[in-house]
């Protein structure tokens, strides 16, 4: 068969193409196999088991042997019923959401300017400062939070110094409260949005802001119209990540907080291991996952709406331009 024949005969050409594309298209799946297997065994299966666990009843006094954590013969929505009817759990979830919102705001207010600063540093400072940002993530979680405790407690370094200098008469309440929890979680969470934002800033053409200045925008306005607007989607993504981390906070509330600051994660631990109520703990854990998923969906929808409306606005404006340019002719 000549080359022309292949080219002019569409089915032959198509077949040849499919044959060629076949192994290429699916070959990359093998690269995914190890990680998929890992996720399946160590994430999906435990999660499914957790769902099943949440649908058991507690072992009653009547139950004969079996597990001491749950009644293996039962299938009930009792645990979820309890979560929905007892206002205690609703309050905990709402409180956790609220605390996560506060943490997110504080994290983003610190992360955005910090990322700008790192971005504008020279190459030598940039590496050093990025390392500093990563430092909390490189050190042990517990050591870090206990270190904060040493700083913040009533007999801690800060209060002792301020008392000694006579600036304050009573120790400042910097421990076992919301402030302490937010500080601890901010230190743990902030590196993520900072890294995201720095890479976003690095990807921007510095001439954009200069161009805006050239066209008559002041420094702040030029920053807002270019850098800020262009990094806003990334900043929102960073905020979303921070919120999810804040919602799942555990160490901060346990070490630095009081029971008012306990998150659902802490309560899951308490219910499961302190009260020995595994099914209820599992149900709360699953509810936690559902709330996060709902948040993610809501977040995605919100971003979509923002994008769509921006496009719609651009189109509406353009319609105007076109109408005018036609009428000018």
């Amino acid at each position: 068969m000549t080359i022309e024949n292949v080219a002019t005969n569409p089915t032959v050409a198509a077949k040849a193409q499919v044959k060629k594309a076949g192994p290429k298209r699916w070959g990359w799946l093998f690269l995914l196999a190890p990680s998929m297997l890992f996720l399946l065994v160590f994430f999906v299966m435990p999660l499914l088991w957790l769902i099943r666990l949440s649908l058991y009843d507690r072992p009653g006094s009547a139950s004969k042997g079996g597990s001491r954590f749950y009644d293996p013969d039962s299938f009930t929505f009792k645990q979820y019923q309890e979560l929905l009817t007892d206002p205690f759990y609703g309050k905990i979830i709402l409180g956790t959401l609220q605390q996560a919102a506060i943490i997110t705001v504080v994290v983003m207010v610190l992360a955005y300017p910090c990322a700008i600063l790192i971005h504008r540093f020279g190459p030598r400072f940039k590496t050093g400062s990025l390392l500093l940002v990563m430092l909390p993530k490189l050190s042990n979680l517990l050591v870090l939070t206990y270190g904060l405790l040493v700083m913040f407690s009533n007999s801690g370094v800060i209060n002792q110094v301020l008392l000694g200098l006579g600036i304050i008469r009573e120790p400042l309440p910097m421990f076992a409260n919301l402030f302490a929890v937010v500080v601890a979680e901010t230190i743990l969470i902030a590196p993520y949005p900072i890294l995201i934002l720095v890479s976003l800033f690095e990807g921007l053409d510095p001439a954009l802001e200069q161009a805006a200045r050239g066209m008559g925008a002041g420094p702040l306005q030029a920053f807002y119209e270019t850098t800020f607007r262009l990094t806003l989607p990334g900043a929102l993504a960073g905020a979303g990540i921070s919120f999810i981390w804040g919602f799942g906070a555990y160490i901060g509330p346990v070490v630095m907080g009081n029971p008012d600051n306990y998150t659902t994660a802490v309560e899951v631990y308490n219910i499961t291991f302190e009260n020995n109520n595994w099914p209820l703990g599992a149900a709360l854990a699953i509810s936690n996952v559902v709330v996060v998923l709902l948040l993610l969906v809501g977040f995605g929808l919100g971003q979509n709406i923002i994008n769509q409306s921006a496009k719609a606005r651009a189109k509406a404006g353009e319609g105007h331009y076109r109408a005018r340019s036609k009428s000018n002719l």
Binding site: M215, G216, R229, G317, R324
Partner: protein
């Protein structure tokens, strides 16, 4: 149309630490002029543009625009239009929004703004593409958006930083003509930076050649090309043969020179202070297109062709004369029906007496 400004740079210098970017540059730019800053990379031409635009502050010296000192004026108050090499189009805005930006900053009312945007898009032949985003446009279209965005608010001065560098050759040639015509049409004072000497020769009213942050020569393209004031300028613009040598004897309107182991006559400059003396160093610049190759003639030097580069309309030969280490670049037009010389051909290399441009004294 707003008034066009002239520009006056007075003893402008810019240092970065110990590094000299621009040194003692004085320059007057006429209203409506198309001025080119030409030089190799690192010559300071972009720095000059950024100083004029206000993106950098000069270490010393002043900048006047339309008779007003703007040296300390921030960028946004200078009323300039700037086109960046990367275009710096706003990716999150449509073409129309990009073009409207400068008008919005000037608080122009909606009706007038839309009319001006439409007019300007028509001027750069982008009407109908206003609702596209920059990433949906070709390189040439993006370049025109950048231009439209810079001229829509009728700035007093247009600054172009290598605006054609990112276009492919054919498009670049087209855009040269378009840019020049557009500049003529709106009559805006324009300063353009380029390292492309051909570009500057074809478009400029006047060319400024910069070398290591200093002004080498300023003048119309033809003058800079035919009467360079230094061997740097001569070598930078066009294909040239640079020969270092010494003056053997001076006899009236000509003098005898030895360079590259060859002896020949060159014309002596008319200026009194530039008269050569025997024994003096000399730099001889010979333009490749002013040299002639012939098989029959007895004049000039015998040499052999060592390399041939066919360029279509012309051919570039590398010719080495006997007893000389110098390879001469010779550019010959390709006449119809005439065979090209080939490598190894023994030919006569010749030039007319007024062809060499000579710089006497140590350079």
């Amino acid at each position: 149309m707003t008034q066009n400004y002239g520009l006056n740079l007075k003893a402008l210098s810019k240092f970065y630490g110990d590094t000299v970017a621009v040194k003692d540059l004085s320059l007057e730019i006429e209203p409506g002029e198309f001025l080119f800053l030409l030089g190799p990379s690192g010559a300071g031409k972009s720095t000059v543009l950024r100083l004029i635009g206000g993106y950098e502050q000069p270490t010393s010296g002043t900048i006047e625009m339309g008779g007003r000192d703007i040296t300390r004026l921030p960028v946004e108050k200078r009323n300039i239009g700037m086109v960046f090499q990367s275009y710096a189009l706003f990716p999150h805005m449509t073409v129309a929004q990009n073009v409207a930006f400068g008008l919005k900053m000037r608080k122009i009312g909606r009706a007038e703004l839309e009319q001006k945007v439409a007019e300007t898009l028509e001027l750069v032949e982008l009407d109908g593409l206003g609702q596209r985003y920059p990433r949906q446009l070709s390189g040439g279209q993006q370049q025109r958006v950048a231009l439209a965005r810079a001229i829509v608010y009728r700035p007093g001065l247009l600054l172009l930083d290598e605006p054609l560098a990112n276009l492919d050759r054919r498009l670049r040639d087209t855009m040269r003509v378009e840019l020049k015509r557009l500049q003529r049409r709106i009559g805006i004072t324009t300063v353009m930076v380029t390292h492309d000497q051909e570009e500057s020769l074809s478009m400029a009213d006047r060319v400024v050649v910069l070398h290591q942050g200093q002004l080498e020569q300023i003048g119309p393209p033809a003058q800079v090309y035919s009467r360079p004031t230094s061997s740097f300028v001569a070598a930078f613009i066009g294909e040239i043969n640079l020969l270092k040598g010494e003056v053997l004897a001076v006899n009236g309107p000509g003098c005898r020179v030895r360079a590259a182991n060859l002896e020949f006559e060159v014309a002596v400059p008319e200026e009194e202070e530039k008269q050569p003396r025997p024994g003096q160093e000399v730099t001889v610049c010979l333009r490749a297109e002013r040299l002639r190759l012939s098989k029959s003639s007895e004049a000039g030097f015998k040499g052999s062709v060592e390399f041939v580069t066919y360029l279509g309309a012309s051919t570039l030969y590398l010719v080495r004369p006997e007893n000389s280490s110098q390879l001469f670049k010779v550019l010959e037009p390709n006449a119809a029906g005439q065979a090209l010389h080939s490598i190894g051909d023994q030919l006569n290399l010749d030039w007319s007496l007024d062809s060499p441009i000579c710089f006497f004294g140590p350079e």
